[in-house]
């Protein structure tokens, strides 16, 4: 059905339509999310802080701990230190993941987004790809920068770590995977809760507070609960040797983490699809 068929009084100029792609697809939704993502300052600040904290703290801690690590008193492996900064830097990934969704609800932008792309699954998928892709790249670069900087000091004490050592290269890319996963986790919670402060509190509490307190739970049941908490399950892949000996194997843990993200994302999608904007 065309408009002109109804225009009894006046006809629209047939050349009125702006040129371009009349049948945009998922690529257009992705491009739109990409422009949105990089045109607010919170993205730059979050990713910059991820790098500064992640790489910077790793270098700082390696520099200050190298002598002790090389001494006889050392009871930790230098391999636990080459991605140290990520312990704090992961917060920025959670912040970014939350904001990508909740800032749209807070400002009313979500209505513009859904008016432009009514297929809600496409909106969610495009956001997820832009967010996780960016975090994976920034997280991996951060891990490498931290490793090269930190290893300089470890090398000076003769305890240098090689990229070929077991788990080191895995931890570099694992850092990217872990922050990407955290971002997605936070974004999914954002779709469910829609309020920045509430969503942020829930994710930070779950990953940092509840995750650590779960280790205090008694018995096998408690031990498994702790191991399966998202932050605990997912973080193992991001470090060659974890400080925490009770974690799952890196890849097994990451598989659990990915499963949790997938379930949460499906729930978020089902909710988002039905809810009024």
């Amino acid at each position: 059905m065309t408009t002109t068929q109804f225009s009894r009084t006046v006809d629209l100029d047939p050349n009125r339509n702006v040129p371009g792609t009349p049948q945009p697809g998922f690529g257009h939704a992705l491009r739109a999310e990409w422009i949105k993502f990089w045109s607010v300052r919170s993205t730059f600040w979050s990713t910059a802080m991820l790098f500064v904290l992640g790489a910077g703290l790793t270098v700082l801690v390696c520099a200050t701990s190298a002598a002790w690590l090389a001494s006889e008193e050392a009871d930790e492996s230098p391999l636990s230190f080459v991605t140290w900064g990520l312990m704090l830097a992961q917060i920025t990934a959670i912040v970014l993941g939350t904001l990508v969704v909740t800032s749209e609800y807070g400002t009313g932008m979500i209505r513009a987004t859904l008016a432009a792309t009514p297929r809600r699954g496409s909106v969610l998928a495009a956001k997820a790809i832009v967010l996780s892709g960016t975090l994976f790249v920034v997280g991996t670069i951060t891990a490498f920068a931290g490793y090269f900087g930190g290893n300089f000091f470890l090398d000076r004490e003769g305890i240098g770590v090689s990229l070929g050592d077991e788990g080191v290269l895995r931890a570099m890319f694992g850092s990217g995977l872990y922050v990407a996963g955290l971002g997605l986790f936070a974004a999914a919670v954002g779709f469910l809760i829609r309020h920045t402060a509430a969503a942020l509190s829930v994710v930070l509490a779950l990953v940092f507070v509840v995750g650590n307190m779960a280790f205090l739970l008694p018995g096998t049941w408690g031990e498994w609960t702790a191991k399966l908490m998202p932050g605990n399950a997912g973080a193992g892949v991001a470090t060659p040797v974890s400080f925490n000996p009770d974690l799952l194997d890196p890849w097994a843990g990451f598989a659990v983490f990915a499963g949790e993200i997938a379930v949460l994302t499906v729930v978020a999608w089902a909710t988002f699809r039905r809810r009024d904007a």
Partner: protein, 306 residues
């Protein structure tokens, strides 16, 4: 053309939009008028597929909004609440919208020029005045050069020059053959812009007619009669079965036009000092109409079933 059929939206157990059916035709400006809380914005959100109707349907040129692959090319909308991120520039806001619907980038500069925002295009919209925000909203609506334009309270926050600009723009768009649907809670604004009216109150349609029909049906008119022989004139007219009210120095007569009243009074040899047709304003008509709907609901709220 926008077609709503028994469109209903219920929040909790309160109907915001209560089974309304209407058609917005192309080629003219249709005003969507009602007091705050009448269901205007809810209806507009349902047109844009943002809210799901509880029942009924609304289509744009025969299709649901959400079924269009590039909806911004079919329907341009200015939403009431500013759907903007305050940290993004006007140009970036338009850029992502253009990208999402495959609209070429040159169109972004084109609409920025059209609404007069070129000079502030790279400023963050959080620093915009209400009026600049409305202009950007209109730029968004025009981005895809759509045959259907939906404007929710477009003159909010605009200065007189801006108001006149929106009015001219709405008429111009309709003149090009587009469907133009403009909501407002200001009758006076609608009177100058719209040719057709859909009036809602408490989620129901109170009137769906042309502006002139609306005036004829709802704006009460009377003939003002002034005479040194006021008492006699009043008696004469009452004997003819006319409704005569006495207000200070004048009579207000309903039921006959000025010429006929003049002849009647003249034949009886009485003197007349004034004979004027007085039409109450559209604002009054609107108030009368919506006051009825408020009263009606006040009654139902008191326990009498609707």
């Amino acid at each position: 053309m926008i077609t709503a059929q028994r469109l209903t939206k219920i929040y909790g157990d309160k109907p915001a939009v209560d089974g309304i059916s209407f058609t917005v035709e192309p080629g003219r400006v249709t005003g969507f008028l009602g007091p705050n809380g009448a269901g205007k914005s809810t209806t507009m959100r349902m047109i844009l597929g943002l809210d799901r109707p509880t029942s009924g349907s609304v289509t744009v040129n025969g299709r649901r909004y959400a079924d269009y692959p590039a909806p911004l090319r079919e329907v341009g909308a200015l939403l009431e609440a500013r759907a903007l991120h305050p940290g993004r520039s006007a140009r970036d806001h338009l850029r992502w919208l253009a990208a999402s619907n495959g609209v070429p980038r040159v169109r972004v500069d084109e609409v920025l020029g059209l609404v007069g925002l070129e000079s502030v295009a790279d400023k963050r919209v959080g620093k915009f005045s209400l009026g600049m925000g409305q202009r950007l909203g209109i730029a968004v609506a025009l981005l895809g050069d759509p045959p259907v334009v939906v404007l929710d309270e477009p003159v909010n926050g605009l200065d007189p020059e801006g108001i006149r600009w929106v009015r001219t723009l709405a008429r111009q768009l309709a003149g090009e053959g587009r469907t133009v649907f403009v909501s407002s809670h200001l009758m006076s604004e609608m009177a100058l812009t719209a040719e057709h009216l859909v009036v809602v109150g408490r989620g129901r349609i109170l009137a769906d007619c042309s502006m002139s029909e609306f005036i004829a049906d709802h704006a009460a008119s009377y003939v003002r009669v002034a005479s040194p022989q006021r008492g006699e004139v009043a008696d004469l007219l009452r004997r003819q079965g006319l409704d005569v009210g006495v207000h200070e120095e004048e009579l207000r007569v309903q039921g006959l036009d000025a010429a006929a009243i003049g002849e009647l009074v003249g034949k009886s040899g009485l003197l007349l000092h004034e004979l004027t047709l007085v039409r109450s304003s559209l604002e009054d008509a609107f108030m009368t109409l919506t006051a009825d709907s408020v009263e009606y609901h006040a009654t139902t709220a008191a326990g009498i079933p609707a």
